[in-house]
Every structure is written in C-alpha cells, then in structure tokens.
C-alpha cells in the first residue's frame, strides 16, 4: 500500500505541469482496449449489482433472510450444514429430504451463507466507498487549503498530516473504536480518519506547483478567477493520481473494515460484513468444521480486491503508459 502511494505521489510531483487536454480521451481509449482492465471492470459491475440486488434476490429465491437463524440448520452437536445440504429433522442427525436447501451451507447461527455473502457486499462496498469519499473530501480540502494559503497554515497542516501518518493505523483505529463504540457511521469515520493523508499530500503538491507556474501568474493578470485556475490548471494534475488512489484505497478500505470487524470493533452484529463473517469463521475455529465459512467471504474479498487492483493498475497504465513499461 505504501509503495503504491509513494509511487503515485512521485508521479504526481513529477508531472509538474498540466497535461494535454487530449490525454483524457486517449487514456479512456487505452483503458477500453486493455482486456484485463475490462475484465476487472465487469467484475466490479457485477459486484455492484450483487450489492444492490443480489442479496434481496437470493433471499427471495431461497426463502432465507440474511439475519434469519434456522435452528434446524444446526446438527444436535451444533455443527452447521454444509454446501447444498438440507436442514435437519428434529432429531438433529438426519437431513430432512423436504427441508430448506442451503446452497452454500449455514453458519454457526444457522444463517444462510450465500445470502449473507451477498448482503455483505452491500456493507463492504457502502462502508468502503463512503469512507473513501469522506477521506477524499477531507484530504482535498486540507491539501487545497494548505497549498494555496501557504505560510504557517501550510506548515501546521503539513506537520499535522505527517504526525497523523506516523501513528500506527490499525492499533489506533481499534483503540478509538473501543472508546467511541461500534456503529456503521463510526466505522466510516474511523476509516476516513486514517486514509486522508495521501490525497492531501497529492493535492497540496499539485497546488503548490500550480501556484508557481508562470502562466498562472500570467493568467491572473488577464483576470482569470480562482475557479478557472482550479479547473483548468489544478484539476488536470490531480484527477489522475486521485483516481488511481481512489480505486486502490477503496479496495484497502474494504480490507480495513474487514480487519476492524475481525477485531470486533467493526459493523455491529447481526449486520453481515465480509470481515465479520471471516472473523467469525476463523476465530472460532469453525472453518475447520466447515471450510466454506472461511472460503466464501474470503474469496469474495480476494475477488473484489483483485478487481479493484487490476482496474487501478489499468487506469494508471492508461494515464501514463511509460510507467507500465509498455
């Protein structure tokens, strides 16, 4: 993660000046022509679809809600049913041939794993995208502020950013979460609090660079307002790196949320989140009794990460082919 961020920063700094306007179109074309990126994009589209409708659809088809606990999905010794098995008869040892079918099996509480994985997509995406959006807002604002105003404001914000970056992320996040308590909003805020640094630095660097450009000074004498400078000169420098950063940080935030849930300070139960499901399976050793419980959310996480990473790579390569070695 850090390596990527540093690389993006170096890229942004190295750009120095504005990009040619036609770059956006060329970049898009390059992106479209890259099969890997397109595959990743389709995967992400599928993911969004799953998040939006997959859950309720699966719930309707199987008749299992995401939070519905089926006592007869657990054997008498509390073992949950596995892939493509039906619920138990009251004796707890034989499967009911007319019982409800669980496509991916049930979890420790007798809930449908497939339905929960699909609903989990919602939470993971929701938390990750809102946290990213919040982080971008904070980062961009601070970066603009400190880059534009310069002087002591810049110095203070800069020091603040660097100090904040020096803190151990996950540990502090857990500490804060323990203190302020669980909750969806809290998780989003905490994650955003730890991911605004790089956008801030990228924007700050670009702002400073823009300020120093001679033709900006020239443009001002002609009467160009701040807004025009922002859009015409600043934006082209930052949208590339920010886009790349955005895609990779969403992926990271999904993992961050999963990590927080794993440590018990993420989204409160019974809301399904992939991290929560993974944590339940691993910390209770239940995956040894039924590997699906760890594989299902784990694979979902890996696939999502893959898609985001591949897409992020594709975008970066499309924007600056030299970096990809092509």
């Amino acid at each position: 993660m850090t390596a990527e961020m540093q690389a993006i920063e170096l890229d942004a700094a190295a750009q120095g000046g504005a990009r040619p306007v036609g770059l956006r179109i060329t970049a898009l074309r390059r992106l479209r022509r890259d099969p890997v990126s397109m595959a990743a994009l389709s995967l992400l589209v599928l993911l969004v679809l799953a998040a939006l409708v997959g859950g309720p659809l699966a719930a309707k088809l199987t008749g299992h809600g995401p939070d519905q606990q089926f006592a007869n999905a657990l054997a008498a010794n509390a073992q949950p049913i596995g892939i493509m098995q039906r619920t138990y008869l009251p004796n707890g040892t034989t499967h009911n041939p007319h019982g409800s079918l669980f496509i991916l099996g049930a979890d420790a509480l007798g809930r449908d794993t497939l339905v929960r994985v699909l609903y989990g997509a919602r939470i993971s995406l929701l938390v990750a995208t809102s946290a990213t959006a919040l982080a971008l807002i904070i980062g961009i604002s601070l970066g603009l502020l400190s880059g534009y105003l310069g002087g002591w404001v810049d110095a203070v914000v800069n020091r603040l950013t660097e100090t904040a970056m020096a803190f151990p992320n996950l540990l502090l996040a857990v500490g804060i979460a323990v203190v302020i308590g669980p909750g969806l909003l809290n998780v989003v805020i905490i994650i955003a609090l730890f991911t605004w640094y790089y956008p801030a630095r990228i924007v700050r660097g670009a702002t400073i660079a823009t300020k120093g450009m001679t033709f900006v000074a020239a443009a001002r004498t002609v009467g160009a307002g701040n807004r025009r400078i922002l859009v015409v000169h600043l934006l082209p420098q930052v949208w590339g790196p920010l886009l790349v950063y955005g895609t990779s940080i969403i992926a990271n935030n999904i993992i961050f949320e999963a990590g927080l849930s794993y440590l018990g300070v993420g989204v409160p139960p019974p809301t399904p989140s992939w991290g929560q499901m993974l944590s339940d399976a691993v910390t209770s050793n239940m995956y040894q009794a039924d590997l699906t419980l760890a594989l299902a959310p784990g694979l979902a996480l890996v696939l999502t990460m893959l898609a985001f990473n591949l897409l992020g790579d594709g975008i970066r390569d499309a924007l600056d082919p030299k970096a990809g070695g092509r």
């Binding site: 540093q6 190295a14 857990v174 990473n309 070695g325």
Partner: protein, 336 residues
C-alpha cells in the same frame, strides 16, 4: 543542505511532541467520558467511590490536564514510559522485549520479501509482457489481494497443523506425526537462535507474501523505467550483457528508492503485524498493544503508540532527507 537537515530534524522533534500529546490526549482524556477510566480499571470492578478517588489521587489523575501532560513528558525524557497497573511492572519492561520480538518478525520477513520480489520484479521489468512478467504480476496482484488475517490462520492450519495429522493440503499423503513447522510459539534469539528461526519461518512467509507482492510491482516499474533510460540503452548497445546492466547499473539506481520505501514499510509494519503475531503466538508490539487496548491498560497503550510513532517519525525523517538528497526536483518545489 545543512539548513534542510536541521529544519527537518527540528520538524521531527516537533512531530514527536505532537505525537505524545495526541496519544496522551486520546487515552487519558477522552476515555474519561466513556466511563472506562484508568482509575476505575485499576481500582477494580467492585471499588467504592472512595477507592476510586484514592487511586485517582495516587495516579495523579486529579491534577489539571496540562500538569499531567508535563509530568508525562518529564518521565518520557528520562526514559520512563510509565507503569502498568494491569501487569504491575514498568511499561519499558513490557515494551522492549515486545519490540525485539516484532523486530525479529518484521526484519526477517523483509529479507524474505526482498529475496522474492527482487528477482521476479527485476525479470518483469527486463522482459515486459513476457510470460514470466505476466505470471509475476498475476502472482503479485493475488498476493496483494489476500487479507493477512485470513492468510495467517490458513497457513498455520495447512502447513503447521495438518502435517501433524498426516495431511498436506487436505490430502492424506504424509505419515501421521510429521512436524514440518511448529504451529506457533516464539523463542528468543538469545535463548536458541536455531529454534528462534524455526518458529519464525511460517510467520515470515505469511507476512512476506503481501509485501512481496507490492515490491514485485514496485521493482518491476522502477526497473522498466531505468531500462528505458539512455544510459541503459547505451550500455547495452556497447555490448554489456543484460544481467550485468541489470545488476550493476539498474540495481544501483533503484536501490535508494527501494530502501526509502523499505524504511517506511518496516516502520509501518512494526505495529501492523498483530494478525500474524496473534495467530502464531508471537509476543510482539502489535499483540501487546492489542492486549493493552482490550485491558484498558492505558500506560502500555500509550507506550506502544509512542514507540511506534517515534520509529515512524525517525524512519520518515531519514526517508525525507534521503529523498531531498536524491531528487533535486523535490528540493526545488519546496521540500517534503
């Protein structure tokens, strides 16, 4: 040049002070409002009001905040990280051994991931879009996408535990009782270097996988950029063999960037490895910090955060200084 260095060092000191202030603020002040205060915790569950007040006075928690903070700073300067009432011993006695354990884990893993990443990344940069490059990049992306808190128990289970039951990856192909790797545990280097390394092999691999992925990509990018530079093409035109060019010139040129990144990553890793530590039972900084949080052991929490942040600040300072030295462009723009 010296001005830059001095300015940066001063900045580092300021940062450390800020870090201490924030850490102290978070866990001494805010916690009060949630009713989970240090005094309450230390006095114990069944403490009466008088008991809690007595402990508050003993700990100096009734003094004004700024005074408490100054006392805290004063202790710090003298190397006193505080006293843990949960474990009833000084925080430094808890943190330094933990730091050693984590350092063993992280530094060892760093060696492993560099050993993996350098050849693969280098090859990828050398022969872009070849089969090897694509394979390397695929492996890297995969490695980056696997959450470590999933990887750690899986590795421990499949390579530590299953062999003892006669299985390898689920298939009964080994004799029961084979012990390839220990399932967990930690032995101090001082006690037995061989056992120390043996217990750390699986954790090193677990930690290295994710970071090797990142470095494969990074080194690949850097290598490709270098090879496109004029000097490399000139050298090849002059007839130097590819490997020589690669290792001597490219390697030398990318080494600073990689070192710079390594410093930052190691600093981050020193407290981010508690998933690995918890699963493999390594009593390191992350594990200590996490236990401290769960036990509301504020002095230890603050201590861990401090040590981690100081290491990070130091690493970042070195990184930034190296950066300014190495990259004249940044010097012009105004420095880090």
């Amino acid at each position: 040049m010296r001005r830059i260095v001095a300015k940066r060092l001063l900045g580092a000191v300021v940062q450390i002070v800020l870090v201490t202030l924030l850490a102290w603020f978070l866990f001494y002040v805010i916690a009060r409002f949630t009713g989970a205060t240090p005094a309450q915790r230390i006095a114990g569950k069944n403490a009466t009001r008088q008991q809690i007040e007595l402990v508050t006075r003993l700990l100096g928690l009734n003094k004004p905040y700024w005074e408490q903070y100054l006392i805290f700073l004063n202790h710090l300067v003298h190397g006193n990280l505080g006293f843990s009432y949960v474990q009833m011993r000084p925080v430094s006695a808890i943190i330094w051994p933990a730091t050693r354990a984590t350092a063993s884990l992280v530094l060892g893993a760093a060696v492993v991931w560099l050993l993996i990443a350098a050849p693969i990344g280098g090859y990828g940069g050398l022969r872009p879009r070849s089969a090897g490059d694509i394979a390397g990049r695929a492996v890297a992306i995969l490695g980056m996408s696997i959450p470590v808190f999933w990887l750690a128990p899986m590795i421990s289970y499949f390579f530590g535990y299953q062999p003892t039951q006669g299985e390898l990856l689920g298939l009964p192909v080994l004799p029961v009782g084979t012990s390839i790797f220990p399932i967990g545990g930690y032995v101090d280097f001082g006690q037995d270097p061989a056992a120390w390394a043996y217990h750390l092999i699986l954790p090193w691999i677990t930690l290295a996988i994710g970071l090797a992925a990142v470095y494969i990509r990074f080194i690949r990018t850097l290598t490709a950029e270098q090879l496109a530079e004029d000097y490399a093409r000139t050298a090849k035109a002059k007839g130097a063999s590819t490997t020589r060019v690669l290792i001597r010139h490219v390697g030398r040129n990318i080494a600073p960037a990689v070192t710079v990144l390594l410093g930052a990553d190691i600093a981050t890793a020193l407290t981010g490895v508690f998933f690995v530590e918890t699963v493999f039972g390594i009593p390191g900084l992350g594990f200590t910090g996490l236990s401290a949080i769960e036990n509301l052991d504020y002095p230890v929490i603050t201590g861990v955060i401090l040590v981690a942040a100081v290491i990070a600040v130091i690493a970042n300072t070195i990184v930034d200084l190296l950066h300014s030295v190495l990259d004249p462009r940044l010097r012009r723009i105004g420095g880090p």
